[in-house]
Symmetry: D2
Subunit: 203 residues, 4 copies
């Protein structure tokens, strides 16, 4: 019995679908995650390119759009366990070029920038209230890394009962094994998987 | 360059260590997760056996102990997206034998039972406040599944700045591939990995 | 300059209004809060009577309905600071008659019972996710006490960006001074005030 | 029977006390709350002076120190219901002088600045995780306004099971009636009341 067989037998992996008010959530596509000497590598740059397409489409469709950045205090006062596990995170301060959203995805008027210090876009932020204020029922997630902040954000999005879609070619990771493993977990338990083309066709 | 090399080069995977006030968190070791026709299988039963050792030790050491159960409302009023992805979850109601903690780990006086409906033991529960009330700084995590509720709980535990230890032989999963993949992710980014024997030796 | 003048000059007290998907939230109308020897007194029983009218109307209108109970663990394991400030709270366990919803407001199929241990109906519960799953944008709040769990729930409801209405004759308190003072604060900063009749007329 | 009698009869108002690791939390003492044409007035400036004494003492005692500011996005993307109730709030952007901490309390190295958009210092912030990382068990609260962001923060502090002390002469409000009414509510249900002098004598 394959792993997929086990999950099918236990009736995981059903579609949760798309509701009537989607938002686009772009996780941590900042300069530091495009540079393999910082947090980048793998298929992250490809995922930025595909996200750029979805961002243009979402703007035309007037979807609410939120983008996250990792931002720690200049004085290090909010560096916690995550900065012990991965010390370079603490360099991502407000004005560090590494913590700026990549140029290709520069936010425009009305788009919501979420500053966060933990993996999930929802943790210690006002994202859930912002989604409520826009009457959002579905969250389309792109960003990086699939095995890190995307996964954490997807768990919380589903836990708050948003229908959640992981955009398969809009999420990227520095290493492909964890990328694939986390897509599997998220599809089985938390979210639907759709490509950018499939999403554009759907609407 | 292997995946591990990439993470090492980017300086992930540092130890976060153990503080001075540990608690034991046992995630979802309930009857429904021991039965391969419900949510069980793989190495879950082995993990229960090892957790039983750690539970005895933790009681002797007077560690605060919390155990989670998945409990949905009898009338289905709180069934959300998670129950769409995995419909059998909604059977785990207060009095269903499947949602009772396994006999081997039966809670005793003073142990805290956390009822939850989402993957993380922290989501929609009072676990963080309970840990605060016990002055806990370190959370030792066992339970199932490694790729599901353990992973989600570990992300939140670290996000709240608890030093977090995943007990490698005290966590189990219905399928071994996801079990291993999630241990890798958690060690690199969120928690330390220690076996039951290593923990007992440490204290 | 009266207190109201100060608030008007600083431009507080604007209407936040009612959206298109209201829910009814009934806070802590359980037997222990009808008994002046436990937590009752003042205008609480009157507020229950008026809430009963609004509950019937809400059921006809098919509004999602949630009711909270205070429920502490039988073994006392989750008694925290709140139970130090007010020790009788810890008696409100699952099967204690004092923690059961008053007969006049008995929940029917599909209504969501929220068990909580803290003042706010949102704290350590899945209420926000439940409201999301129903696409709610407005929360009508009745219950008790105005100066306690109602106030705390209203702050959180507004903080999550729900349009929030405090039902003036559907909320009650053991003492009238704090009842009035808290209605003032909530109207100025967090919510609109409407009577049951005004709400029924509105829809 | 006075209101106080009712609360005494029902056994409210017990002391929750001070633990072994206190932190100082200063809520919203920013320039806009010192100006009666914005959000100021009443006894707020007096409370800032007393807080300055407690801040000096807390630095000598090496208590962890956190200060909050209200900060909304420059582009208004995160303005929610609170900004409908009180529209001037949306002016409090990152670089507006009104949202800067008053000079008298300027933070020094290691002190944690919490940016928030909602009443509670805990809502949508990482404050609870920061307190965990410092092993804090007691929160001493000063700031403004007593009937607004102080009250909301105190409810959450207690809900997370921190022993909470409202510093009576370190909290202020634009109007004295609500200031007094909220001190009463907080003492009865959530926190202990102590003056700056009493706190300094205690340690």
């Amino acid at each position: 019995m394959t792993e997929l067989d086990i999950y099918e037998k236990q009736n995981f992996g059903n579609l949760s679908g798309i509701g009537s008010n989607p938002a686009l959530l772009i996780v941590d596509f900042v300069n530091g995650f495009t540079d393999p000497n910082q947090f980048g590598g793998g298929n992250i740059n490809d995922a930025i390119n595909k996200t750029s397409e979805l961002l243009k489409f979402s703007r035309l469709q007037k979807f609410p759009i939120a983008m996250t950045r990792v931002v720690y205090a200049d004085n290090g006062s909010d560096n916690g366990i995550f900065c012990i596990k991965a010390p370079a995170l603490s360099n991502l301060t407000e004005s560090n070029p590494s913590s700026q959203i990549v140029e290709e995805l520069s936010p425009i008027a009305g788009e919501y920038i979420v500053r966060k210090t933990q993996p999930s876009a929802f943790f210690g932020t006002n994202l859930v209230g912002w989604l409520t204020s826009k009457s959002v029922d579905t969250v389309l997630v792109t960003g990086c890394t699939t095995s890190g902040c995307v996964r954490a954000s997807v768990i919380d999005s589903m836990s708050y009962n948003f229908r959640t879609v992981v955009v398969t070619d809009g999420v990227g990771d520095r290493a492909i094994g964890p990328h694939e493993a986390n897509l599997f977990d998220m599809q089985q338990k938390y979210a639907d998987l759709m490509s950018v083309d499939e999403i554009i066709k759907y609407f």
